[in-house]
């Protein structure tokens, strides 16, 4: 009996790609620590992390972005699912999700001296908005992908110093038509393993 290729690791599984993990958990102290331990132990770097409550009381969502092979990412997801307080963990490639990050840019008000820069670049070209204007500084806000917020950063930098810059972790929703509430209800009913859902 010769080994079939079917279940063998495909070459493409070893390609390093960007993966987004979406993890639904009970709202439990220390769980963030437990999840990051799983990455640390495997020397896998977390590129972006967002933790927040969800539309369901007591349920949190972790959105984690990594650069990894499919094989390593799958193994990490299985380890996360194994945590007792994790309700579900999903692994997505870029095309399977809607996702955004938010960036804030603090600039000197002098930027208004550069003519219609604000109007042209900030608002029209980048779809950013002015969040706040103070006497000596303004805050610009842009949501988008990391590439997009970075582009705006680079452009703004040409016009003067950026006083401060901050970017959030990614938040993502899958493209599947699924309601988290129903999903949790199903979990409460089901006897089956998390992996099969």
């Amino acid at each position: 009996m010769k080994k079939k290729g079917l279940y063998q690791l495909k070459k493409s599984d070893n390609k390093i790609k960007e993966y987004t993990l979406s993890v639904l958990t009970e709202d439990k102290a220390g769980l963030l620590n437990h999840i990051t331990i799983i990455f640390n132990r495997r020397k896998m770097n977390i590129n972006s992390l967002n933790v927040s409550t969800t539309e369901i009381t007591g349920v949190s969502r972790f959105t984690i972005v990594v650069h990894s092979s499919l094989e390593s990412a799958t193994k990490v997801v299985k380890q996360i699912r194994k945590l007792v307080d994790v309700l579900a963990a999903f692994l997505y490639e870029e095309h399977e999700i809607y996702y955004q990050e938010i960036a804030l840019y603090k600039l000197s008000t002098k930027i208004f001296l550069k003519g219609d820069l604000v109007e042209k670049i900030i608002i029209r070209k980048y779809g950013a908005k002015i969040l706040k204007i103070e006497k000596d500084h303004i805050i610009i806000q842009k949501t988008g992908t990391k590439v997009g917020t970075q582009k705006l950063y680079d452009e703004l930098k040409k016009f003067g110093e950026i006083l401060e810059f901050a970017r959030s972790g990614r938040v993502a929703l899958s493209k599947k038509k699924r309601k988290t509430v129903n999903f949790i209800k199903e979990l409460e009913k089901t006897k089956s393993n998390k992996l099969n859902i």
Partner: protein
């Protein structure tokens, strides 16, 4: 009526039918010990001499009885002394619930006396942990703790309880936990997977079953034997799988791994089908994974989905409890026999016997050999004792030469390889199964890691037999130094204490055995004595354990010398 949090702890343990606690008191857990004092007629507490001893004892208790072991320790150093045992229990899937005291909740995070971040420290080495700061949580959390520790793939749970939560009052209404919405320990067996597996099994010409501890944990020994007898497929065991199959079963072909038997290791690469049951392809079993089971399809029956495809890619993955899967497989696999294939293993056995076993057990060294002593004990006890081994050469020799006849008889630290495990684990094993003989087999190095537990054994008259295989070396490390580091014996030779005098000090009967002509008589006395007994056997100093798969090499490169 409201009771104190501490009393709620003890009453919860009683509701979980806990009959024994292994523990060690201290400031932050004193309220719980005080509550325990009123229940000494209902629950047994064993005061070990170190918290590591307590948790290893709880592990031994759990492994022989299938019940969850329980352990108490105080905050700070008491809790940190549990860490090795927690890790050991996690990697070897042993159900243990540890309860640690913690400083009062208003002092958390202040570097208070004996405060340590026990939750943070134990996170990577527990299946679940939780800190209780309010007595009202105690009942619910403890019932969760027992459910989590004992269900699915078992593991250790640590519950840290602040001192104020132990003191304050709470209602006591116990409800056994039966479900947690985020935790689904029993996967649903998929019948199509069983069908897929059966097809491959029916066609295989050279199939081999790998038996792991999962078989013991799911109590699937009978179903496994039935499966092997219907299909005629030979059975090989991992270190932790030992004793799941009686060593004299006609289809049993031996022990896998670095120092396992010649046949099952070598034939792994000839097999056209590997059926792995409740095992996790540890590197001590697989050697070089790229040269492992090269001609075989893989069926993996495993309850923990994260183990599937972790090390070895499967062709059919059956994510299920071993017993359930085997029951269904037994209904549809075809009757078959693989006599010719099994005979190939027997040829390997003959070679191994001629090259190694014969001279090991038949006294061809000046001093006694480890194998000779184990072989004698195996014969004398008819393979029916519980064998608790430490880590090193003696462990491998015991695993090779003790011919197990009954399940749950091999208690050893497999995944973590924790020296110091055997002595306390043997105490726990004896308490967990008082009707069977328990023999601890330990090196002269390992015994000194937890030797203080002789005091526990003495105080409670725990009738364990303790065998020191004394070679005055950290033998396993010395063997590697000899074989792979040019004979450079860097810090492996020991000037040992007089173990017999030490044991006298603990008021435990003991003897030193050196001469071959005394072997039979002394072993008989050792086994038959009604009480704890330590036997210090002086063995050959520089004996090596063979066969051996050199670390990182293919199982095909197994060396007979």
């Amino acid at each position: 009526m409201n009771i104190s949090g501490s009393e709620a702890v003890i009453k919860s343990l009683l509701k979980e039918n806990v009959d024994t606690i292994f523990g060690y008191p201290g400031g932050a857990i004193m309220p719980i010990y005080d509550a325990l004092y009123n229940y000494v007629n209902k629950i047994n507490h064993i005061l070990t001499r170190h918290e590591q001893g307590a948790i290893h004892a709880a592990q031994g208790y759990a492994r022989v009885s299938g019940r969850t072991g329980v352990c108490f320790a105080t905050s700070g150093p008491g809790a940190t002394n549990l860490i090795t045992g927690l890790n050991d229990a996690l990697i070897d899937s042993t159900p243990v619930v540890c309860i640690t005291g913690q400083v009062p909740s208003n002092l958390l995070g202040t570097d208070a006396f004996q405060e340590s971040d026990v939750i943070g420290i134990s996170m990577p080495v527990t299946k679940w942990n939780h800190q209780i700061t309010n007595s009202s949580e105690i009942v619910e959390i403890l019932s969760k703790a027992f459910y989590i520790a004992g269900s699915g793939r078992p593991g250790p749970v640590l519950i840290d309880i602040t001192k104020d939560a132990q003191f304050s009052k709470t209602k006591f209404r116990y409800k056994k936990c039966e479900k947690i919405r985020s935790y689904h320990p029993y996967p649903v067996l998929k019948s199509e997977k069983i069908n897929d597996a059966a097809k491959i099994i029916n066609q295989a010409k050279k199939p081999l079953i790998l038996v792991g501890q999962g078989v013991l944990l799911s109590k699937a020994e009978n179903e496994l034997i039935k499966f092997s007898e219907i299909t005629g497929i030979p059975l090989a065991s991992t270190l932790l799988g030992l004793s799941a199959v009686s060593c004299d079963h006609k289809n049993y072909v031996g022990y896998l791994g670095m120092h396992g038997n010649y046949g099952p290791n070598l034939k792994t690469n000839e097999a056209d089908l590997i059926i792995a049951i409740g095992m996790r392809f540890d590197d001590r079993v697989t050697g070089d994974t790229t040269k492992y089971a090269v001609n075989a399809k893989i069926i993996h029956i495993e309850i923990d989905p994260s183990e599937i495809d972790k090390i070895i890619k499967t062709d059919v993955a059956i994510n299920a409890d071993a017993k359930e899967a085997l029951i269904d497989l037994n209904k549809i696999v075809q009757k078959n026999s693989h006599e010719k294939w099994i005979n190939e293993f027997r040829k390997c056995d003959k070679l191994e016997f001629d090259k190694i076993i014969n001279k090991e057990i038949n006294g061809s060294y000046d001093k006694l050999s480890m194998a000779e002593v184990i072989h004698k004990i195996s014969e004398f006890t008819k393979g029916k004792s519980i064998i608790v081994t430490d880590v090193g050469q003696h462990q491998m020799v015991a695993s090779r030469y003790y011919k197990f006849k009954e399940p749950n008889s091999n208690i050893t630290s497999g995944g973590l390889g924790t020296m110091g495990f055997a002595l306390p684990a043997a105490m726990g094993s004896k308490i967990g199964n008082p009707n069977r003989d328990v023999i601890a087999i330990i090196g002269d190095g390992g015994i000194q890691m937890t030797i203080q537990e002789l005091a526990t054994i003495s105080q409670y008259n725990i009738k364990v037999k303790i065998l020191i295989l004394n070679n005055n070396f950290l033998g396993m490390v010395r063997q590697w130094q000899q074989l792979f580091f040019d004979n450079r014996y860097s810090f492996t030779e020991m000037k040992n204490p007089n173990f017999n005098k030490i044991t006298d000090g603990y008021r435990i009967k003991n003897k030193k055995l050196e001469k071959r002509e005394d072997l039979d008589k002394v072993i008989k006395e050792f086994i038959e004595y009604d009480g704890p007994y330590l036997l210090n056997v002086i063995v050959e100093k520089e004996e090596n354990v063979f066969p051996m798969v050199p670390s990182g090499e293919s199982v095909s490169n197994i060396r007979l010398e």
